[in-house]
Symmetry: D3
Subunit: 193 residues, 6 copies
């Protein structure tokens, strides 16, 4: 078997990229030790690359009411609904690391209802899954369920927006056959110290 390709669309050479895009890629490589394939795959279109990661960072990296682990739970749960190979594997790794829990990502990906989560987190994922799968049926009762678990209105926005962002991301990764790097599969699987 040959080395599998990163995506069905050939990624650009790093040297050909605009400086800001190349620097962003080099920064993630420095931090992670490798370049996650989604960076290379999307760099084929620098403007879309910039918008994608700006959106991602605005939702996933900023301060806010949701922990970073909770945001990754939303990503993994909704990406599993969309059968997105890249996102489940890559964000599963990030979830394990951020939650410091080597089991949680596989649990959330297969069936979050059986995962080792709090009732509050399950309410959060119920809402996220509804955004992913049948957003047109969302109404104030869904927001009331979040409030009953002490989610603020801004938390509700975050949950919906993260689920929506990955509705996009999952479709890009599926349509373009973006392959998760082999490194992701085992990241964060060592037991908690």
């Amino acid at each position: 078997m040959q080395t599998p390709s990163i995506s069905r669309f050939a990624p650009p050479a790093l040297a050909d990229l605009p400086k800001d895009v190349r620097e962003r890629i080099e920064a993630v490589q420095e931090k992670s030790g490798f370049v996650p394939n989604v960076f290379l795959a999307l760099a084929r279109r620098p403007e879309e690359f910039r918008a994608f990661f700006a959106y991602h960072d605005a939702l996933m990296e900023k301060p806010g009411g949701l922990t970073k682990a909770e945001r990754e739970m939303i990503v993994v749960a909704t990406s599993a609904v969309n059968n997105c190979h890249y996102c489940v594997v890559a964000h599963g790794a990030i979830l394990r690391i951020r939650a410091k829990n080597p089991l949680i990502a596989d649990q959330v990906a297969v069936n979050f209802r059986k995962a080792d989560l709090t009732a509050r987190q399950k309410t959060m994922l119920d809402f996220a899954i509804k955004v992913a799968a049948r957003s047109h049926e969302i109404d104030e009762r869904d927001y009331a369920a979040l409030r009953a678990q002490n989610f603020s209105d801004d938390d509700a926005w975050d949950i919906a927006a993260i689920a929506a962002l990955f509705a996009m991301s999952n479709r890009l990764a599926n349509a373009f056959s973006i392959r998760p790097n082999d490194e992701f599969y085992n990241m964060g699987r060592e037991p908690r110290a």
Copy 2:
């Protein structure tokens, strides 16, 4: 009945917005004669606003193999699958104008298979709908069907990316109950000159 609200999340006052966001909104107001509600609704989060419209412009406004009317067809067809009130009404208006066809938006929204489209355009929408509804089943046969209608690889990327972007946009508008401006309903309905 009171004036219905723009969104379930109160929009910010224009005066409170960062300058670039406010200027973007003023520019669209100047061009359209009114501020489309999605601008106000998303301005509540300036960083997300910037990323959203940067992505939008990168796909919808740039030159490329698809006509601007065809891009709007993708938006209307996939937004109808997601029952997105805002996107079907607002982009339906833009489609009528760009296609110079007062009937096409309603046709595409209800059932693109019965719309006055070319076979090539129906192939484009078959692909877009598959991205919207079951992207995990996309494979090289889908790309071959596009090529057989003379869509380039870059056109295929555009179709997929537009469908993916509105997978996000539809979920935001549905979850946030963003209401289309009354002005959109009748835009472009006058017969072709």
Copy 3:
């Protein structure tokens, strides 16, 4: 592009039709200024034509607890679930006129949950959609929800029967590719005086 055909089944010549069928068609033409294509398409089978319009008039034109606008809401909402091009466009026009509301038809067609309707009307459409999409699960709880909104038993029959009639009508129009007349698209879109 040629003049598109009214239906995949060639309609009969008016002169060849039985007198009562022809007179019914001439009457609608006089009233509307044009002959809605469903009349010509179904006239190919005079006996079915007579039964169809007798059923239609018995439910849509008689006095009763539902307003005529409400009956058209049922038609538009359920026809949208069935992706019926003819019925959404033609009955959307009638709904705009009967409700004296230029926005309501597009709202109901895309997602009645976001439309400018009363809670009572949304309950009516919840029931109608259940008849259209999963009638075998209807039970007395559904009737109780109608009663709680002051719908009588006869109103409940009307809602169910209208949804059922258009379950038939949508399938005929879809299977026969009956095309809505161009006139329908813009009817009733002028703002309320």
Copy 4:
């Protein structure tokens, strides 16, 4: 257990019915030995009753390319998709009698693909099921499949119209909880002579 009711809507007394409706009911009673409950249930609304049975007779009783047994196959197969208790049981009885085959109705109701049918009849039912379940996707390829099995255009109309009529009938019987008469269950089950 009490005698179960015919329908959730109380049927009218025969003596209170218009003469033509009463005579139609008496005629079927004479022929069958009992009054099928759908006649009593729908007689609550004489105008709708007349239209319903006029439509029914126009499609089910007239001469034409489909045998009467084949028409009942369409009814049973589509009514099973809609989980219609009344129609599967009552028309299952008629199918057994018209096909002179005591097994065929149960086979068609559970899975027509495994039933003792000809390839031509399975093509007919493929089309009928598509009309019942996703009529908006019907296109000329479906009609070509019928032609390849020597169905005429008028046969195609009949198949679609019967499936559409029972799309209505199934929803009425489900929503109104119309109960099949006990007599239907065993009719036509005696082996062929």
Copy 5:
């Protein structure tokens, strides 16, 4: 038409079977007067045959809180969801006999919600259908609904296990095209004495 085959996989000759398998088959033949085809079809693989019928007997023949008729209701209702020709027809016959009710099997097969069942039995079937169709969503609320109808924990296990066993059995019968014996169709249809 030729004698239809028992299954798409040729059944073995009785004489070639291991003694215990042959004796099991002869015992059922003696009791029923014929050999149900599932015995012959599965005997092609003696080890699987032994496990299948051991499982079946452990759930269907043992003493327990559910009556034997109720167990057959579970089989018929879930097999209908899976469109299993063999299981609906064969277990429909057993249900009629065990319930001493000639109508019940057809009612349960088409729509158990409209069948002549107690509220307790409908709760049992709601649970069984959920096991059949979306077991991953089962949670303690489903068990609470059973307890509210006086089902014990062991009854709940039985309901789930029977639904699960026939999830397997339905798929085998469907994939292997196992045909129900003609004898089953009319068994138990004579009215109660």
Copy 6:
């Protein structure tokens, strides 16, 4: 958080089990170093336990045309369709070991179409998924697709029977909330030597 329970049904004490059941459990413990929870959960019913594992061994452990890794692929792919936490995690571990591939289980669980499989293995999984999800539509074309990839009739039986067995197993594990042992998550993840 307390130690999570093995299942919602309390497992029996080993000492209380029949000798053969206890010995089977001790044997697996010796081999694996721990007792997989499904053994303890199902041991609550010794007869069902015996039948379950007899069936399992007859299909998963015997010689045959499918490799043991391929059989586990079928289990993981179909269990993912059913969102079965226990089966995806436990059999994912076994698949990694049998395939000597640390990545394959996660790939197959999320979307086998994107997994590092041969075309022949994807054909095998297409068939298995059809057995899992819509077995009533299986016909000879599905068997022909298997034959075209050199699967024998006995291989086809094995694929269908494994998918059917886990249709049962998934529903048991989901309904009983059987929790996979923590040990499974990391088994077989070390890279190939």
